[in-house]
């Protein structure tokens, strides 16, 4: 069960042709796939396209009605290999993942696919995780398109254009027998917009038909001599076919402007930002009318020489706006202009940043610099958005502040107080106690080398835990410790999540460690879901999932792989136990990898499951006990050692209210879910007795009430007695 349900939203996939769709980008892409008669869809979740996978999962019924097969692939490699169905058969297939990381994983299959070529349209929808909000290394997927010769679409970021490019993508793929990559940026995935729908189409040719009439053609298989032939095909047949299709169908767009002696060339994805930048310079309006001519590349690979030449001819200078580096397109344009003897000056990364996201501000600065040098009069026209002053309808808006307020001393002073907000473990997260225990184990046995992995557990590298030296990729936590396979006083510790484990960690990490007799310690964090990507089910999930085979224990898998020393901890909140198990693993004399499987359910998912049930129980008048934690402010001395071992959002601080205690005391707010970590840590680390767990009994039974009466009578009397003494001496 994924974190966010799209059950309601997916109904939009049914709206009849000609009606207006309003919603999120990923939902629009799903609709576009159905409108294109896709036959099968696969992929691997990861921001920014996690929701695309969730939408498809929730759209099961609709997909089945249309004979569309949807699969949650084990990895991006599996997803890419899935496209093999479009090699011999005229079936349209689409897969999706987070890029560039996912494309890295998929590239083996993609390269094979691209070499032999496809019959049915093959579309790879990549969520380009670049710029603000990205969680990965900053690279471009562009390089993959170039190296394997796949076409790369980067449509203008409005739903209409994105939907159109899904449809065009399939046709382009079929016209040129080449897989096509459709790149959507982070914000495009989450953008709310509108477009007019078409009819959903059943696949022209179904998978059933394919299985009924198998086909094979060795010339499509990557093996000599065919493999050599493929390269020539790419150049002689597929490239020209693609160029022709792109030109004929005008996939790239030209927008005229009256300043004809200059022009802007841009990736489609940057279009809205460029228009805003021009608007702030007084050269465009809010509707895409620009005084500077634009050549918008909705297809960023291949570059269409003829179109570039046609746009540049007769212009004094053009500016290429290309986000990220290397500047493949700009270099390409230089070559095109030179080969065609066009002497138009080409500007680009000379006035724009070489690296980093192209924010509106960055592009405005670049365009301004370009125009200053090439067409100063264009800037001297009128004040930005002056068109509004002319208009009586829209409210007049003053121009954007020329000098950023950030230079104001009082705003500068904010640097002193505004704290960083690193992402961290959620309230009650079962991974928190694991790293608290690891910190305690290191207090006993000294610092160790810790290799991290990708997943929520990577937050261990941040305060307050500060654990972990490297992270080499999803599922590669254990593999990245493999070099430390030498006799030494200390062992390496590797962390791996259940998501990464099933993605590839079982082989790349566990099997690798067994085979090479690695002596290190591997901690597998089993929280029942692929949590970081939105709580999707995986093989070892405990949930009953009618469409997927769950409940396959990780322990069985690793024992199968030959691990001898395995400890499964079924309650990670038992900090002392986790610490002791870690210490045993680090000191035991047994050879081979020591694997600890630390299991507790992801609290986000657990709360979503249990909260309603609890509420029902209480409503029905049944006895129900709610647990939550608290701190006695008069016992707490305000050292915050507990926080340094926790970092739980619900464990905060507040003024002690005691004039003699100037340091704020720990405080548990009512977002506490009573996971128990606080108490366990305070106990295991011998911190202090300030913490208490409160059991709140809803609808107490008769026995409860009787006991409470008796206890209340005795305890109350004693308490009053002592209170009276204090009252006598009150000051």
């Amino acid at each position: 069960m994924a974190e966010r349900s799209f059950k309601k939203e997916v109904q939009q996939l049914r709206i009849p042709a000609g009606e207006e769709f309003r919603g999120e980008g990923i939902l629009a892409i799903t609709k576009a796939l159905l409108q294109s008669g896709v036959g099968y869809v696969g992929g691997y979740q990861g921001s920014p396209i996690s929701h695309l996978m969730d939408v498809l999962a929730d759209a099961k019924e609709i997909l089945e009605e249309l004979d569309v097969h949807f699969e949650t692939s084990a990895s991006e490699a599996s997803a890419a290999a899935m496209l093999a169905a479009s090699v011999m058969y005229p079936i349209r297939g689409a897969v999706t993942w987070k890029s560039t990381v996912g494309t890295n994983v998929a590239s083996d299959a993609l390269a094979n696919l691209a070499s032999g070529g496809v019959t049915g349209g093959a579309l790879v929808i990549i969520g380009e995780d670049y710029g603000e909000g990205s969680s990965i290394m900053q690279e471009r997927s562009h390089a993959f398109a170039m190296k394997s010769q796949m076409w790369l679409l980067d449509p203008r970021p409005n739903l209409e254009s994105i939907v159109k490019s899904v449809e065009d993508g399939f046709e382009l793929s079929e016209a040129s027998n080449t897989p096509v990559m459709l790149q959507v940026r982070i914000r495009s995935c989450h953008v709310h917009g509108r477009f007019v729908t078409k009819e959903n189409r059943r696949p022209r040719y179904t998978l059933k038909e394919a299985l009924a009439n198998p086909r094979r053609d060795t010339s499509r298989i990557v093996l000599p001599p065919a493999s050599f032939q493929h390269e020539h095909e790419k150049i002689e047949r597929r490239w020209p076919a693609a160029v022709e299709f792109i030109r004929e169908r005008k996939l790239n767009e030209v927008f005229d402007g009256d300043f004809e002696e200059v022009g802007l060339i841009l990736q489609g994805g940057l279009y809205n930002g460029v228009i805003r930048a021009l608007q702030l310079l007084g050269l465009a309006d809010s509707f895409g009318n620009s005084r500077i001519p634009l050549y918008v590349m909705n297809v960023t690979y291949p570059v269409i020489d003829e179109e570039v030449v046609a746009f540049c001819q007769g212009k004094r200078a053009v500016l290429m706006l290309e986000e990220g580096q290397p500047d493949y397109i700009e270099q390409n344009l230089h070559a095109i202009l030179r080969k065609n003897r066009v002497d138009t000056l080409l500007s680009g990364k000379d006035v724009l940043p070489m690296a980093g996201e192209y924010s509106t501000a960055a592009m405005k600065a670049g365009i301004e610099a370009f125009l200053k040098a090439q067409l100063p009069e264009a800037l001297a026209t009128h004040a930005p958005v002056a068109v509004d002053e002319a208009a009586t309808t829209a409210a007049a808006k003053p121009k954007a502040a020329a000098v950023p307020i950030t230079f104001h001393p009082k705003v500068k002073a904010l640097a002193e107080v505004v704290p960083p907000r690193p992402a961290g473990f959620c309230t009650g997260c079962p991974e928190r106690p694991i790293f608290a225990a690891m910190k305690l184990a290191q207090q006993d046995l000294g610092e160790h080398h810790v290799s991290c992995d990708i997943g929520c557990h990577l937050f261990s590298i941040l305060p307050p835990f500060n654990l972990g030296a490297t992270t080499m990729g999803y599922g590669l936590g254990a593999a990245s410790s493999s070099a430390f396979n030498v006799k030494s006083g200390k062992r390496s510790i590797s962390v791996m999540g259940d998501g990464g484990f099933w993605h590839n960690g079982l082989t790349s990490g566990i099997a690798n460690a067994v085979f090479n007799k690695n002596d290190g310690v591997i901690v597998i964090v089993d929280n029942y879901y692929s949590s970081a990507t939105g709580g999707q089910d995986i093989l070892s999930s405990r949930a009953d999932n009618p469409d997927r085979a769950t409940k396959n224990p990780i322990e069985a898998a690793i024992r199968g792989a030959g691990v001898k020393w395995v400890r499964t901890i079924d309650r990670t909140y038992d900090v002392a136990r986790v610490r002791d198990t870690l210490e045993e693993a680090l000191t035991t004399t047994t050879d081979g990898p020591k694997v600890i499987i630390a299991q507790s359910e992801c609290m986000l998912n657990r709360q979503r499951r249990e909260k309603p049930l609890f509420a029902q129980k209480v409503k029905a008048g049944e006895r129900a006990v709610k647990e939550r934690f608290g701190v006695d402010p008069d016992v707490c001395t305000g050292d915050h050692a507990c926080i340094r071992l926790s970092g739980c959002p619900s464990l905060s601080v507040k003024d002690s209210g005691d004039p003699l205690k100037e340091d704020p005391v720990a405080h548990v707010d009512n977002s506490c879910v009573g996971c128990g970590n606080c108490g366990e840590v305070a106990e295991a680390a011998v911190l202090c007795p300030s913490f208490y767990r409160a059991d709140i009994i809803h609808n107490p039974s008769g026995t409860d009430r009787f006991l409470a009466k008796v206890r209340g009578a005795v305890i109350g009397w004693l308490q009053r007695r002592r209170a009276a003494r204090l009252a006598r001496f009150a000051l």
Partner: protein, 528 residues
């Protein structure tokens, strides 16, 4: 080609800054609903990513009238991200996020309305500090007054809780109340009603946010960050207590009355009136010392420091104290209130106790305690028994009586080992204060009193504090008679609170040694 025709119409630009789980997405969706219902184009984008896991994130919206699009004959092209200096409405779901918005240049004096909740959700770095790491909220308001065209600062979290709802609803209300958007209150409320769950609480929170924003002052006042001050009563019921109060009023300068009263209160509560009298007596001696060495000119800094630190030192946290505090009726009531238990619900608390051998011995008569500490056999046995913590159900008769009895040991406290250790420490500490004051190091003496601040907590935490304190005292002796002695010791105290491992303190002490060859080597070692 003749000049390209540019059409009028510029979108309203809105940025919402929130933290994961605050419902920033819900708020953004509401604004979209609201605008589309009123016949506007609305676009929202965000970059949640891992920020959903408690990090900070921005939702960006642009709104444009359909009529303008119709006039232009084509759909609007709206930006996907905020441009510094080009935002009309900035909404921050937490005070420091408003600060972040200004740091990013999203707020601009010409046009931005900045609506922020004044409540704080402390960041890990603020919470994890060994002392007080909380940033000054007024820095944000000061900047806001300069950076924003209109600043509305309200505790919208409190209003949301008051309505049994979440902050997104009260923020939505504040937006409506601010009049920053061209939509009527009914339209806002209709949007909430259009939602599925929690409609009524949301509407209540909305109303509270609306009223608060509508009546918000043009310029918000500063946030009061002063600590609660002590009220000095005219007289006390009990004659002995009254005698102490009288002594304080008669013999001590008024600036010290508050702290002294707080100290007396704390010590009566901790032990008894006699103990409080002891405290007042010691303070009186220090006051005399203070006077002899120009305290009048120094605003009685020494007496104030003594009144504060001595009270805390004398009420050291021991097992008896913890048992006492945990078993009080007032505490039972406070817990019920804190967990929001209703009258018909029962509440039981479980305490997580982990006394070590040291604590056990500390609670025994001095002689016996010391014997046990050194006895291999029995001491070792107790140690083993104490390896695991105790879960104490303080609401059950057995455990309550056990704790109540331990608390009752109060009357023997003066004869117990821990007391002997603590009083010895205090004697040495105050001795040093007197010595230095006598030799004219007044400021240093005051700083030494304040150094006691780092001795706090239990078990390991307490030991750590003890070690650091010892290191500081030794450093003080080194510093005696030197220029800037007090200032240097203050720096060392801050260093001692900088990190748990004491790296900063070691570094500073090492520097001190280098600067003054006179310094003695063991200092750095002792800090560890």
């Amino acid at each position: 080609m003749n000049q390209t025709l540019l059409h009028p119409g510029t979108p309203i630009k809105i940025a919402v800054l929130a933290m994961g789980g605050q419902g920033g997405g819900v708020l953004a969706d509401w604004i979209v609903e609201l605008a589309e219902h009123a016949g506007w184009w609305a676009q929202t984008t965000s970059v949640p990513g891992v920020a959903q896991r408690t990090g900070a994130t921005i939702y960006y919206l642009e709104l444009l009238p359909e009529s303008a699009a119709a006039a232009a004959g084509r759909p609007p092209i709206l930006a996907m991200m905020p441009t510094p200096g080009d935002i009309d409405l900035v909404v921050a779901a937490e005070l420091m996020e408003a600060g972040r918005a200004m740091q990013r240049g999203l707020v601009t004096p010409e046009r931005s309305t900045l609506i922020t909740s004044t409540h704080r959700s402390y960041s890990v770095t603020e919470k994890a500090a060994l002392g007080n790491g909380i940033g000054d909220p007024n820095t944000v308001l000061d900047a806001g007054r300069e950076a924003a065209k209109r600043l509305i600062a309200l505790d919208l979290q409190a209003l949301a809780e008051q309505a049994g709802s979440v902050i997104s609803a009260s923020l939505f209300g504040a937006i409506a109340g601010s009049g920053a958007l061209p939509f009527g209150r009914e339209a806002f409320e209709a949007t909430i009603r259009g939602g599925s769950k929690g409609v009524e609480p949301s509407l209540r929170a909305f109303a509270l946010g609306f009223e608060a924003a509508a009546q918000a002052p043009a310029v918000p006042a500063a946030i009061d960050t002063r600590r609660p001050s002590v009220t000095v009563p005219d007289h006390a019921a009990h004659p002995e207590v009254q005698r102490l109060l009288g002594k304080i009023k008669a013999e001590f300068p008024p600036v010290t009355h508050g702290l002294l009263v707080a100290g007396v209160r704390r010590l009566i509560d901790y032990q008894d009136v006699a103990y409080a009298a002891e405290y007042v007596q010691k303070c009186a001696e220090l006051r005399a010392l203070d006077e002899r060495h120009g305290g009048t000119m120094k605003g009685w800094a020494l007496t104030q420091a003594a009144a504060h630190r001595l009270a805390v030192a004398m009420s050291y946290d021991d097992v008896i104290r913890v048992a006492d505090l945990k078993t009080r009726g007032s505490r039972f009531a406070r817990v019920r209130e804190e967990v929001g238990a209703k009258a018909d619900q029962l509440v039981y608390t479980t305490e997580f106790m982990h006394p070590r051998l040291e604590e056990i011995c500390g609670t025994l008569p001095a002689g016996l305690g010391r014997w046990l500490e050194h006895s291999k056999t029995i001491g070792g046995f107790v140690k083993r028994k104490m390896e695991h913590g105790r879960r104490v159900q303080s609401g059950t008769l057995t455990w309550f009586l056990a704790l109540y009895t331990v608390a009752g040991l109060r009357r023997f406290r003066r004869s117990l080992l821990r007391h002997e250790i603590e009083t010895a420490q205090q004697r040495e500490w105050l001795g040093r204060v007197v010595r230095l004051a006598e030799t004219g190091d007044y400021d240093l003496a005051v700083e030494i009193l304040h150094c006691r601040r780092i001795v706090k907590g239990y078990s390991g935490t307490h030991d750590r504090g003890d070690k650091r304190f010892a290191a500081l005292m030794q450093a003080a002796d080194e510093l005696a008679g030197r220029a800037q002695a007090a200032a240097t010791l203050h720096k060392l105290l801050e260093a001692a609170m900088a990190d748990e491992q004491g790296r900063e303190l070691d570094a500073q002490l090492a520097m001190l040694l280098r600067h003054h060859a006179a310094g003695s080597p063991p200092m750095a070692r002792q800090a560890a």
